[in-house]
Amino acid sequence: MDGNTAAPAAAPAARTPWKAGDFSHVPYWIYRDQDIYAREQARIFAGPNWNYVALESEVPNPGDFKRSFVGDKPVIVTRGADGAINVLANRCAHRGVQLCQEHLGNAKEFVCPYHQWTYDLQGKLIGIPFRRGHKGNGGMPGDFDLGANGLPKLEVAVRHGVIFASFDRAVPSFEDFLGAKMLGYFDRVFDGRPLKVLGYSRQRIPSNWKLMMENIKDPYHASLLHVFLVTFGLFRMDQKSAVQMDDTGRHAVLVNRKGEQAANEATQEMRAFKADMKLADPTLLQPQREFPGDATVVMQTLWPNLIVQQQSNTLAMRQMVPRGPEAHDLLWTFFGYADDPPEMTERRLRQANLMGPAGFVSMDDSEVMMISQQGLDPYPDATAVIEMGGRDTVDADHTITEVALRAFYAHYRQVMEI
C-alpha cells in the first residue's frame, strides 16, 4: 500500500540463500535482519490481512476507545456516536503526534495536545485553531480541505464481539480470510455470547515475533518442555489430538483432549512427566467442560498477529506487537462470558496461573523464546530444522509434528517473495 511492497524479491546478498520450495529449513537471518522486518511490516501487517485489535466489550458505549496496534503501528479503536466501530491511525494528521496515550477510555473527540487539531470519533478532522488566522494574519490556505486531513481509517471487521482491522482496502471478507475450517474453530469460543474482560497482562519478549507464532503452532514441544501440561494431561502427545490449517497454511489450530496422570509407553520418553507430582492445592486445576465436542484445549493461531487461547477454562487473546526484529510485545486479554456464574469466573482466574509472564506453562515459553533469539541471533546464516512429522504441509491427527510451522513458512515465503 505504501510502495514498500514493490521491492524486488531476494534474500540479502550476503546471506545464505533459502532454497526454493524448502519449508522444512528456515534460515536464521529472517529472525534478525532489519530489511526483513520492514518488509514484514509492509507486506504482512499492513497487507491484505485482518489484524486483531480489540474485543467489542472493551468499547461497549459510544465514545469508548482503546489503544491498540496493527503490526508496530499504533491505532485507536473507537465506538462512534452511531454505535459503529472505527479503527484509526493513532497519529495526528498535522505533525504525526500520537494523539491517544490512554489504554482505555471514553472521549467525545480526540484533541492533539500539540496544536489542538481536533478529530471526531470517526477520525474526521473537525477543528483547527486559527484556521482563519487572527486579524488577517496567518491561517491555513483557503483551499485547505478538512475532509482530506482526517486520521487515516482502517478497514474494520467485527465477528461475534471480536474486532479486526486492516490498512489494506483490498482485504477479503473476514470469513473468506479465515476459511470455513478455521472459522468453525473461531466460532467455537466466539459463539455470539457477550464477552467479559477479566484483565490484561503485557510482556515484552526479547525474540522475533515469528518465534511466538511458531511456539503455538508447535505441539511437539508441549509434550517435552511443559511439565504442567504433560504431568496433568492438559496437552500431551499420547492423547487424541490434531493439527489443522486453512488452505493457505497461515492459520492453524492445535487440538488436544485432557488425559490422566498415568504413566504409559509414551510418557517414558517425556522427562517432563512426573508420575508422583501432586499439587498441594488441587483447586488450581479443576476444569469444567464448557464447549461442545471432546476437545479440552484448542490453541488457534490467526495470521498475522493473534493467538486465541482456550486451555481448560482459561480464555485469552494474545496479540503480538512486533518491536523491531529482535523483540515483540505479547498483549494478553483474559476474558470469560458475560453470563458466567461467579464460580466459573473464579475458575478462569485460578487457571490463569498457567498463563502469562509468570504462568506455570507460558513462563517456559517466554524463557525459551529469549534464549532462542540469543542462540540464533549471532548465526544468521545457519538454519533451523523443521522436519518432525515429515516435510509436507498437510493436516495431522497427532501432535508429533511441526507441520503447522512448515505451512506457515510456505505462506510466509509466498507473501514475502523470499
Binding site: 477479566l198 497482562s201 492445592d281 488450581l284 509468570a358
Partner: protein, 165 residues
Amino acid sequence: MDGTTPARPIAPELRAEIGDLYAEYADTLDCGEYERWPELFTERCFYAVIPRENHERGLPLATVRCESRAMLKDRVHAIRETQMYVPRWFRHVIAAPRLLAHVDGVVTTRTNYAVFETQPDQLTRVLNVGRYEDEIVRDEGRLRFRRKICVFDSILVPTSIVLPI
C-alpha cells in the same frame, strides 16, 4: 483506605516487629530460601501479583494468584522442580511500610517495593516496581501475612516473572 487513622495506636514494639517481617521477607527470597517463603503467610491467605491497570479498573485478573499457603507451596515446587527458566538473581528493596490501620488484630499496610533482576550476560535491570497492599496478623506466635497484593506499575513485564515478588 487513603489516610486512614489507625483505630488503635501502633506500639513501637509492633512497628519494629512489622519492619522485621518485611526485612525477613526480602532476605528469605533474595537468599533463595523459597521453602521458607510460604511460612511468612497464614495457612488461609491470599497472595496476588496484579498489574496496576487491572487493579485500578477493578479487573480481577492477576499475573500470579494464590488462594492458600498450599498454592504458595505449589509455586515453590514449580520454581524448584518444574519450570524452565534462565537462572537469575532477584533483589527486593522494600521501603518502610506505611501502617494504615490496626483493627481487630489486623494491621493494614501499604509499602513500596522494587525488584531488580540479574541474568547471565545481562546488565541488572528493574524487573518490577509497585506497592504491597498487605494485611498482617499474629499467628502461631509470630507475625504473618494473611493477605498480600503486589500491585505493580511496571505493567509491561520484561520477559517473565520467574520468582516471587
